[in-house]
């Protein structure tokens, strides 16, 4: 299909080539300065988080195949985009992920087992968003873009933008994919962020596929240009280049925290795995295409750089492998031990407080489960007054 959205015709910020070499040409000097100060231990940290993210991904995929998880959405191939982005965050920044941002949550320090509670169905929450400044996974496509815009407007009202205090100034990042850019919510999120100059970074991982639909089904213009149309500074970065993703995000976050408003970053990457474990990519894409992107693996290129610069050696690699193995073992063991939720748990998170309809349903359900007589007509056979008294008694937990 003819299209002008492909990689050859669009300027792309790249600081690390697929071969693992730093890009030294002219034009990127402002971004190169942003990574010049990254110390070897920081680069090793990025590498470690990318490797552990992939191990998490592989383990979770296997656990799903073994029937231990209901579903899983792999992030394979997007580790550089997510980890590079998350390394630029300040602790007070707040992130709104979709269901695929395992690399961001890795950097945020969310326990991998807590993340799998969601996919196992033992707990929808999994972690406390306020502890990590990371919202729980959002499943609805693109909704979080509006949530991020609103949260950022709240940050403005709190006076946490443009104070000049780096420990105080706060930004928000939201993550979504190429498919989500067609949804109203994302476009409306861009409108709200732009007109309010809200401190939010729209981090679009263009991984080329929305389930079976290629990006050409969503757009005839490079996605970053969508941001420009809303009056938002925008750029495309090599999403498999952790350094470019870090540098671009850092610039965007500085703009946001200082009061300069939103930024749209299109991280051009590839979903190497399936959309979810329910999906079979062989139905819609070629192994040739997958092979092209395998050669651009984000982890390989950082490893080559670190090896060439002497930042890692065989010992480090061996230790990291051992750490990944330990993570895998811990994930398998602890995930299998996660207890299924009790059957009445579904009644506990419908309302924040006691609620008459839920209490009635729950009382019926508990009686049914206990093999006690239930009243299929929900007390309608009793006089109206008696029925309401029954409801009150049920709220007290007796029947």
């Amino acid at each position: 299909m003819n299209s002008d959205i492909g990689e050859d015709k669009v300027p792309l910020l790249q600081l690390l080539t697929p071969e693992g070499a730093r890009v030294t040409g002219r034009g990127n000097s402002a971004y190169r300065k942003r990574i010049a100060g990254l110390k070897p231990e920081q680069l090793r940290g990025m590498y470690r988080d990318m490797v552990l993210t992939r191990r998490f991904d592989d383990e979770a995929t296997s656990l799903q195949r073994q029937g231990e998880l209901g579903l899983y959405a792999p992030s394979r191939g997007q580790e550089a985009a997510q980890v590079g982005n998350a390394y630029a965050l300040a602790p007070q920044d707040f992130v709104f992920p979709s269901y695929r941002e395992h690399g961001v949550l890795q950097v945020r320090g969310v326990d991998p087992v807590d993340r799998l509670e969601f996919y196992r169905g033992t707990d929808h929450g999994g972690w406390n968003p306020l502890e990590y400044n990371a919202q729980v996974y959002t499943v609805v496509i693109g909704s979080q873009a509006l949530h991020a815009a609103g949260y950022a407007m709240g940050v403005q009202r709190d006076g946490l933008v443009g104070t000049g205090d780096p420990a105080k100034d706060t930004a928000v990042v939201t993550y979504f994919g190429d498919g989500a850019t067609s949804q109203g919510d994302v476009n409306e999120g861009l409108v709200f962020a732009a007109v309010n100059q809200a401190p939010v970074v729209f981090f679009c991982q263009n991984n080329q596929w929305a389930i079976s639909e290629p990006t050409t089904r969503q757009t005839r213009t490079p996605l970053y240009k969508r941001g420009e149309g809303f009056g938002i500074p925008s750029l495309r970065v090599d999403g498999n280049d952790v350094l470019a993703c870090y540098a671009a995000t850092q610039e965007a976050l500085e703009r946001a925290r200082s009061g300069g408003g939103p930024t749209f970053i299109e991280a051009f990457t590839y979903r190497m795995g399936a959309h979810t474990t329910s999906d079979d990519p062989t139905r819609y894409r070629t192994t040739e295409q997958e092979e092209i992107w395998r050669k651009r693996d984000p982890i390989d290129r950082l490893r080559i750089l670190l090896e060439n610069e002497g930042a890692i050696d065989g010992d480090f690699e061996a230790e990291l492998r051992a750490e990944a193995d330990a993570l895998g073992e811990r994930l398998r063991e602890r995930t299998r031990k996660l207890e299924p939720a009790t059957k009445t748990q579904m009644f506990e998170t419908v309302y924040a407080t006691e609620h008459s309809i839920v209490s009635e349903d729950r009382a019926w359900f508990e009686a049914y489960e206990a093999g006690e007589p239930t009243d299929a007509t929900y007390a309608t056979s009793a006089p109206a007054g008696a029925a309401s008294q029954t409801a009150v008694a049920q709220q007290g937990g007796t029947r």
């Binding site: 949804q183 079976s212 939720a341 419908v350 239930t374 009243d375 299929a376």
Partner: protein, 334 residues
């Protein structure tokens, strides 16, 4: 000597829906299918597999990820004389298109002074039971049954899965077809010459004398199973399949209840403010003096549908729940 008519063939709901689409696309050159992943992928639930290859990308169209977009565009195409069949992946996603469905498709004839009807068919998956969690699993067809200007269908048999689409396409007004996702893989026998069916009436799927189970769609097989369980207890249950949720065929409902004098409404959707409430109210309005017992309801738990399998199943009406409610109704009001 004539060859014997071919016997019924084993098929699934998925295949029956696909055959209906194929038939419509063959018979009506103005018909086309559009939605997310309907082409190359064959639909997220595999309903349109092979149709892109057979009919080409003009008539089987993968769209951008925008429910408001493809439903709204479907309305526009219908206004221009086309016969669009729009697929929404799940009923939960249809909420993104609710403005297009209700404020536009359902109101267009009225707001244009009768000038523009909208011959649009919208198909979507409904129902729980496949571990897709609270944002992909609800049963909101009752909400759509609330809206004047549209017709709402809910196939619960292979014949209806095969036959409702074509009749819906002949309707000059918007028609919504709710395909219960649990049934897609359900197998059964379908006559090789199965074709269009009428979409005005409810159907008695099993005759009985002691009470009537009133249901539709994905709950129909469970109600029929419950009727078997009840038979073992010596209770004879009639099963009425609503088929069309708007307009409800009140005549068939009241006729059955007038024979059996007891009714249990079964719907996996929530109880409060629901289609089951509407059916119950109509029985009260139209057959109050025929009733030997209050109308009972067996509905889904009033919670967002849980993701964990055991919770999800617990939240849905099961044959045993239905049989229990029926038994209590007969025993308490014998």
């Amino acid at each position: 000597m004539t060859a014997p008519a071919p016997g019924p063939t084993t098929t699934t709901f998925r295949q029956a829906y696909r055959e209906a689409l194929r038939d419509a696309l063959r018979r009506d050159e103005l018909a086309f299918l559009m939605g997310e992943d309907v082409g190359m992928y064959g639909g997220c639930f595999g309903v349109s597999t092979g149709l892109l290859e057979e009919f080409g990308p003009e008539r089987v169209r993968d769209t951008p990820l925008s429910e408001a977009g493809f439903v709204g565009a479907g309305i526009g195409a219908a206004l221009n004389g086309m016969h669009p069949i729009v697929e929404v992946m799940t009923v939960n996603f249809s909420l993104l298109a609710l403005d297009q469905i209700m404020n536009n498709a359902a109101s267009m004839l009225h707001m244009s002074g009768g000038q523009f009807n909208v011959p649009l068919v919208i198909r979507m998956t409904t129902g729980a039971g496949r571990q897709l969690a609270a944002q992909h699993s609800h049963s909101l067809e009752g909400w759509f049954g609330h809206i004047p200007g549209i017709r709402v269908l809910a196939p619960g048999t292979l014949e209806d899965a095969r036959g409702m689409l074509w009749t819906a396409l002949q309707d000059p007004d918007p028609v919504l077809i709710f395909e219960n996702g649990r049934l897609y893989g359900t197998e059964g026998e379908l006559a090789p010459d199965a074709g269009p069916v009428e979409i005005d009436h409810a159907a008695v799927r099993r005759a009985g004398t002691d009470l009537t189970l009133i249901t539709y769609g994905g709950s129909l097989p469970r109600a029929l199973e419950a009727a078997e369980l009840l038979l073992a207890d010596g209770i004879s249950a009639e099963v009425v399949d609503l088929r069309t949720l708007r307009p409800l065929d009140t005549t068939t409902i009241l006729a059955s209840v007038s024979r059996t004098h007891r009714a249990v409404v079964v719907d996996e959707a929530w109880r409060t403010g629901s289609l089951s409430a509407e059916v119950s109210a109509r029985i009260m309005e139209g057959a109050f003096y025929e009733l030997d017992a209050p109308v009972a309801r067996v509905c889904g738990a009033e919670v967002p549908i849980p993701y964990a399998q055991h919770l999800e199943q617990a939240a849905l009406p099961q044959p045993e729940d239905i049989a229990l409610a029926a038994r209590e109704l007969v025993q308490d009001h014998g």
